[in-house]
Amino acid sequence: MLLIHCPYCDETLPELEFAHAGEAHVARPENPSAQSDAEWEEFLFIRRNVKGPHYERWRHTHGCGRFFNAVRDTVSDRFLATYPAGAPRPSLASLTGESE
């Protein structure tokens, strides 16, 4: 079972308290009706399916209830960082010490 750091509660807690919520930084367009079919398809369905560090959303469902973002390596299942929703995405280089 993973241990996950909630950036709001500032505590590292068992995975059981959290729910995964898909890829992060997929912003709903400001005016969806102005989107072409292809753009809307991209927003709705197309995800990166990363092997390696992945920006994703979690919700501290059985805690503070808030959504936050995380960088998790999908190969090792290690969390590299968690940060509040709305915060800029941290660069991978700063997290892994390697160039992106």
């Binding site: 079972m1 993973l2 005016n31 809307w40 927003f43 709705l44 959303r57 209830g65 290690r78 929703a85």
Partner: protein, 1004 residues
């Protein structure tokens, strides 16, 4: 004293005899024995039959890696366990142990005909044999294979035992209480760390239990062990025996299964059978030791052929001589000591056969001193004996040529192919392995977890080396946790170090294709099968494994994986590290379902949510059904009524008088804040800006893909406050979705969301006489059509209780929903029941609710929709606020596929004979005469007998359904095809005249 018990040896208690039953006969052992050691003490080697060929087998090992000696243990109904390893099961008076996989009995098993036909049952047998004809599969092949498959029989009764689960946090977990583990635990504990030390055996000590000859720090090994365990206890180390580390999970969480009662004659009250620990350790020391490899040669599986190290364990730990006339067959020094010790314990060793041309001179000298014949540079090519090995055939090998054979009589054959580190738990961490050419084995390399390996687990050999390594690793771990520690070196005398070589199959003078040289004993995989798999095109070790089933038995390839790899690599002509090892997966040893389930069984398997009114429904004799996690009253039968009769009566009462329904399970969310209306406009399809406080509206929730997610009536209590209701099953999902959009897409909106489902008891009252009932009870609002029209909401009092009163209907009758604080629900229910009795008030359940809503064509999300239904498909276009600039799902609704013709649309269905009730889920076709497979154009979503419609009714999703009114479609069923006419969805009161509220004093 049993025939093969050696006086003065072993840790069993000869003064405490224990009688148990094996294969129906009483067997006497000693306190401290396992089933296997007690049987061996009585000269019984035949303990089981193999899986495929039903070959007679005996214990080949002495620990949890045992592949052959599997028994069924029993103590009364429900307390039976198949596939228990006889080498691990401790005996107790009355234990009943049965051999498996044999019929009619262990010594004469009809299934052994498979053994004669072994040439047929080669690798991939099932894949090749049962292909054709296709029609034979269901009726012949599958039933026969299923009947023959499986090991052991599960009990059919419920398990009366209890199982516990616990969490534990510690600084250091040490797995394995052999010399390395003991030393690591001691060092870490002395550095002030919290230490847990676990071992799967009944006692701590590991190999020390089998090597009493050694002296550590001047003490005999067993005295040192006793002192060491006392020291650990004094340091506060938690030592847990009979505790298996079954899996190594993320971030140093280790699953520990502790067996508490399987060794006890009397089950203590209130003690669980097993306890599953989820332990989180800052650091883990794996000190699991090494497993001995069998040698691969024809007949290496006969009862009496055993690992030399196992024979040592039986002798020293259990005081059992496994035979009177052993032959040792080895490629490693360690087995020589088994020969010496058995000779010293009264056996007559017939020969030590070493595959190496020049074994160490010291060992050869010692053998000579004992008068033991040594055959160096020899191979074994066959054994004889049906139920017990009688002889082994050995040959000199010179420059790769196998010379003339000699038959040596024996009553046991003790083999050793060297030792393999136990890599299982390390592999669970996704740790990488490094090939060690000298030892012909993989050693642990890097791991992402905070974990170190100590002792024989990383290829070290001998007590001195493993003790020193354990202490060193304990100090290393302590240092990494900021504690200074010293790792004292302990002098060891009588240590047995050694080395050896590795083989694939032993050299033979016969055709290898006729050899029955077993690699995986439990799954009956031979070396020939592995080579055949490679010849037939398997290149990956994972494919070889699955094609042959090597390593796939309940022992998880503990003894077979490395031999299998060596042979496969040889057949492939590639080095072992290029071929790679198959993946080890948890659990390390078979683990009971009970241990995993823990407390989650029966009523604790899942929570059952009950409304405040539930006890009244129960007292009224309601029949319940699960809806999500809730249990809801389905109907309220009167004496003699079946469901159909009761539901028809409940519907009739509601349509002619008053029906009362516990609607408390409806999801309720309070949406509050200055931006509440803007939030509602964005979330729901409907426009909310013009909805006045005191009014309600049917709300429809889509996903951004345009499909219906949920629905419910929403009341506006104030400009900044909405009372949202959701489906019973959708409440949590809807709140999560709202929170998601609010927190992450529209954080600028000033809105609070609160789940209030459990704050309110909700009673729905429907029927033409409902106003008569409520008018005398309601204060604060006038119940007239003008003052409180359909789709109104008010805060008022009902029967003196503070209430939110909704005028809504899910039945088509005049309807109200009364919300009172949850604890007041039962009082209100009783008060309404009393006041309504003269008016014909009748409680109804979810079934009548379903019938009445279907009669009106009101959908149930999740029943009449399936996640691919749009508002237009469901006939709900009127609920979509097209003028709004945006709402969740608006853009989705414009996707080409969602506006294309031919979508499945919700329609009504009436069977043409007027009496047949359709089945929910039944498929619909246009032309019943078309060939199979037919084109399916939709399915029945709801179907009920309707008294109001005078016939059975149904709702269905049908391709282009809205354009097919009046057309006939067909529903093929197993026994007949039913014709039905497509209609609209409303079967009762299409003008909604019955929703009106009768004037006070007027007729209903």
């Amino acid at each position: 004293m049993s025939r093969f018990r050696v006086p003065g040896r072993g840790r069993v208690n000869p003064d405490r005899p224990v009688t148990f039953r094996f294969d129906g006969r009483p067997v006497q052992g000693c306190e401290g024995d396992t089933v296997a050691s007690a049987l061996l003490a009585n000269g019984i080697h035949l303990m089981g039959r193999s899986f495929k060929y039903h070959r007679p087998r005996g214990a080949v090992a002495a620990g949890s890696e045992e592949p052959n000696a599997l028994i069924n243990t029993r103590r009364g109904p429900g307390r039976a366990e198949p596939n228990t390893r006889a080498t691990m099961q401790e005996i107790w008076p009355g234990l009943e142990a049965r051999p498996q996989n044999c019929w009619p009995r262990l010594s004469f098993d009809l299934g052994a005909v498979n053994d004669r036909a072994y040439m047929l049952f080669s690798a991939g047998f099932y894949y090749k044999t049962f292909m054709w004809p296709r029609s034979f599969w269901d009726k012949l092949y599958e039933p026969v294979i299923r009947a023959a498959a499986g090991l052991g029989v599960s009990p059919s009764e419920e398990d009366p035992d209890t199982y516990a689960s616990r969490y534990l946090h510690t600084d250091v977990l040490v797995v394995g209480a052999g010399p390395a583990g003991l030393a690591a635990a001691r060092t870490a504990a002395e550095a002030g760390l919290r230490v847990v030390l676990v071992d799967e055996h009944a006692e701590a000590g590991g190999t020390l239990l089998s090597e009493p000859q050694a002296r550590i720090a001047g003490l005999p090994a067993w005295d040192w062990l006793t002192a060491e365990l006392a020291a650990l206890k004094a340091l506060g180390v938690r030592v847990m025996t009979r505790t298996t580390a079954i899996g190594y999970y993320h971030q140093n969480m280790i699953g520990l299964c502790q067996r508490l009662t399987d060794h006890l004659a009397e089950l203590p009250a209130d003690t669980p059978r097993e306890r599953m620990w989820r332990l989180r350790a800052a650091r883990v020391v794996l000190a699991q030791g090494a497993l001995e490899k069998p040698l691969v040669f024809d007949g290496n599986d006969r009862p009496g052929v055993m690992l030399a190290g196992a024979a040592q364990t039986y002798l020293h730990r259990f005081g059992v001589r496994v035979g009177d006339r052993p032959v040792i067959l080895t490629s490693h020094d360690s087995a020589w000591h088994a020969a010496f010790d058995l000779q010293d314990a009264g056996a007559k060793v017939a020969a030590i056969v070493d595959t190496r041309a020049a074994p160490p001179a010291a060992l050869a000298g010692e053998a000579q001193a004992r008068g033991i014949r040594v055959l160096a540079g020899f191979t074994a090519t066959a054994t004889s004996g049906r139920l017990r090995v009688r002889s082994v055939r050995v040959h000199p090998v010179s420059a790769g040529t196998v010379g003339a054979g000699e038959e040596i009589a024996c009553d046991c054959l003790l083999m050793s192919g060297g030792w393999t580190p136990s890599l299982h738990l390390f592999s669970h961490t996704k740790g990488s392995l490094a090939w060690d050419e000298d030892r012909t084995t993989f050693l642990p390399a890097d791991t992402p977890e905070d974990c170190v390996i100590a002792g024989a687990g990383r290829g070290l050999w001998g007590i001195a080396a493993t003790l020193a390594d354990g202490a060193e690793k304990g100090a290393e771990v302590a240092a990494s946790l900021g504690r200074g520690a010293s790792a004292p070196a302990l002098p060891v005398e009588g240590d047995r170090t050694g080395s050896g070589t590795s083989h694939t199959e032993l050299a033979t003078d016969r055709s290898p294709s006729r050899a029955r040289a077993f690699v995986d004993f439990q799954n009956d995989v031979t070396a020939k099968d592995l080579r055949l798999a490679v010849r037939e095109g398997m290149r990956s070790i994972e494919h070889v494994k699955r094609y042959t089933t090597n390593g796939m038995a309940t022992d998880q390839g503990k003894m077979s994986n490395i031999n299998g790899l060596n042979i496969a690599a040889d057949a492939l002509g590639r080095a072992q590290p290029k071929v790679g090892l198959t993946t080890f997966r948890p659990p390390y040893t078979p683990t009971s379902f009970g241990a995993f389930a823990g407390y989650h069984r029966g009523g604790h398997f899942e929570v059952t949510r009950r409304t405040a009114i539930d006890p009244l429904a129960e007292a009224a004799g309601a029949v319940f059904e699960p809806v999500g996690q809730w249990r809801r009253a389905r109907y309220f039968p009167r004496p003699g009524e079946d469901m159909d009769t009761a539901v028809a009566r409940e519907c009739r009462a509601t349509r002619t008088a008053i029906g009362m329904f516990d609607a408390s399970t409806l999801g309720k969310i309070e949406v509050v804040g200055p931006d509440a209306v803007e939030f509602m406009n964005r979330m729901y399809t409907n426009p909310w800006t013009k909805l006045q406080p005191g009014r309600c509206r049917y709300g429809l929730l889509l996903g951004d893909d345009g499909f219906i997610r949920d629905d419910g009536v929403i009341g506006r209590l104030a400009h900044d406050r909405f009372h949202v209701t959701t489906t019973t099953g959708g409440a949590a999902r809807v709140l999560n979705m709202m929170e998601d959009y609010l927190q992450t897409e529209w954080p600028e909106l000033d809105v609070w969301l609160t789940s209030t489902t459990e704050q309110w008891s909700t009673i729905a009252l429907n029927g033409p006489r409902v106003a008569e009932l409520l008018r005398p009870l309601v204060e604060g609002v006038t119940l007239t059509e003008e003052a409180f029209p359909h789709m109104s909401v008010a805060e008022c009092t009902v029967a003196g209780m503070p209430a939110r009163l909704f005028r809504v209907s899910f039945t088509g009758e005049t309807g109200f929903e009364v919300n009172v604080p949850a604890p007041m629900g039962p009082a209100l229910w009783q008060r309404l029941a009393e006041a309504g009795a003269p008016l014909g008030l009748t409680p109804y359940g979810t079934e009548a609710m379903h019938v009445m809503r279907a009669e009106k064509g009101y959908i149930i999300v999740g029943q009449d929709t399936d996640g691919t239904v749009t508002p237009a498909d469901a006939g709900l276009t009127w609920a979509v606020g097209k003028a709004k600039p945006d709402f969740v799902g608006k853009r989705g609704l414009a996707r080409p596929d969602l506006t294309a013709p031919g979508r499945r649309q919700l329609v009504g269905l009436l069977t043409e004979d007027g009496t047949t009730l359709l089945e929910e889920g039944a498929q619909i076709v246009l032309d019943p005469a078309q060939p199979v497979p037919m084109k399916m154009v939709g399915h029945v979503t709801s179907a009920y007998r309707s008294e109001a419609a005078g016939r059975p009714i149904a709702l269905a999703l049908v391709e282009g359904g809205h354009g097919r009114m009046g057309e006939t479609v067909h529903i093929p069923m197993p026994d007949r095809t039913i014709a039905a006419t497509i209609t609209g969805c409303v079967f009762h009161d299409p003008e909604n005249t019955r929703l009106k509220l009768a004037a006070p004093g007027g007729d209903a």
